[in-house]
């Protein structure tokens, strides 16, 4: 019997596929945003709002990750954007290899902005680098103000935090200042937007920022998956 020292990340293979994705996307100059959130926080609505505001200025596509069904993909495809559905078959996150297969079906050379809508989950998606330019997280007023305390690793791993459903202020118990303070402390460099995809309040600030990111080139350069 002998011992072999390895000391490699368990997700090395995923990270390798993510690096390939990143190279392809950078070559095609596509700004790619990995959108993460718990189920129902408003990932699809946020993407739909961005499409509404930024098309036809930007050429947008979506890779849509869901455990099952194509409800969200159908919704976005009706807006006229190329949409690839990945059904994860039960898995709670997207992985780089599946994204790579999806990229092969998109006209990357003609895209400016690609959304990767991850599976609704606040734990697993951060472990799996997909090759994105930027990680975004959607949290919503309806979920409560304690999300940063409960999922600190997620809040630390992202480049931008979007607080959705601000129209529910006053209806749901939510301490806005406590939420913003916790996010700011956990991740001082994260951009934060407060908006309502339902009413449209605050959406323009978010899409203006996004357009700037796309047109000025990636401000976020990720080299590894976990953020550790």
């Amino acid at each position: 019997m002998r011992e072999l020292g390895v000391l490699e990340g368990i997700l090395t293979e995923n990270d390798r596929a993510a690096r390939d994705n990143r190279r392809r996307l950078e070559q095609a100059r596509v700004f790619t945003m990995n959108v993460m959130a718990s189920p129902g926080a408003g990932k699809t609505s946020l993407i739909a709002r961005a499409i509404e505001h930024l098309q036809p200025k930007l050429h947008i596509a979506v890779i849509e990750g869901d455990i099952a069904s194509s409800i969200d993909a159908d919704h976005l495809a009706r807006m006229g954007v190329p949409t690839v559905q990945i059904n994860t078959g039960g898995a709670c996150h997207l992985e780089a290899q599946a994204v790579s297969e999806a990229l092969a079906r998109l006209p990357l050379e003609r895209l400016d902005l690609l959304f990767l809508e991850n599976v609704g989950n606040l734990v697993c998606p951060i472990s799996f680098d997909l090759g994105e330019t930027c990680k975004a997280m959607v949290s919503s007023v309806a979920e409560g103000d304690d999300k940063p305390q409960k999922y600190p690793a997620m809040f630390q791993a992202v480049d931008v935090v979007i607080l959705n459903k601000i129209d529910l202020h006053g209806i749901c118990p939510f301490e806005r200042d406590a939420f913003l303070r916790a996010v700011g402390q956990l991740n001082p460099s994260a951009a934060i937007f407060e908006l309502s995809c339902l009413t449209g309040a605050g959406v323009e600030a978010w899409t203006t920022w996004l357009e700037e990111q796309v047109s000025t080139g990636p401000a976020f350069r990720r080299t590894s998956g976990s953020g550790d």
Binding site: P82, R110, S127
Partner: protein, 177 residues
């Protein structure tokens, strides 16, 4: 991952060609459907590809958790490293898991029991070394272990913390023969 497939393309290419000086031509609107990948294993002999089939079978029976994906990646890495070293059999797999990595050791062991069958790790043990989470408060410079899931600094009570350790997910070493 097995079971995770890019399926359909909707509404492809409804926009005009964009002008970029570096491009001379624009590719097809939509690539033809790529052949689906039948196995998650690379550079591994066919005798070891049963692992992928097991992952698929497991995914059909239960909700695929984070740990099934992770344990499948772990097995692939372990088997490929053992084969590279010319080993016939894996006896033990030593992994390092941080306690805020999102990975649960007993879930990984559960999937490992299932995934190892029919592979060169059939009789192998999965051994864990857990790394406790350590945080540092940026304001107070205090280093501390969080109390449960609360990452607040014990001195100032705030969340201005950086994680020093606890997010690890590593294959540390293998015992093989």
């Amino acid at each position: 991952m097995a079971g995770m497939r890019a399926a359909d393309v909707y509404g492809c290419g409804e926009f005009p060609d964009r002008h970029r000086p570096s491009r001379t031509r624009v590719g097809p609107r939509c690539s033809p459907r790529a052949p689906l990948r039948e196995t998650t294993l690379k550079n591994v002999p066919r005798s070891q590809t049963r692992l992928a089939a097991r992952t698929r079978a497991a995914s059909e029976r239960c909700r695929l958790m984070h740990e099934l994906s992770t344990t499948t990646y772990l097995m692939e890495l372990a088997v490929s490293k053992a084969l590279e070293a010319g080993a016939k059999r894996i006896i033990r797999i030593h992994v390092v898991v941080g306690d805020s990595s999102g990975l649960i050791a007993h879930s990984m062991s559960f999937y490992f029991e299932h995934l190892r069958r029919g592979t060169m790790a059939e009789g192998a043990q999965l051994c864990f070394r857990t790394v406790p989470t350590r945080l540092r408060c940026r304001d107070c410079c205090v280093e501390f272990a969080p109390a449960g899931d609360r990452w607040n600094c014990p001195r100032c009570g705030e969340l201005s913390v950086v994680r020093l350790q606890g997010g690890e997910a590593l294959l540390e070493s293998l015992e093989v023969e």
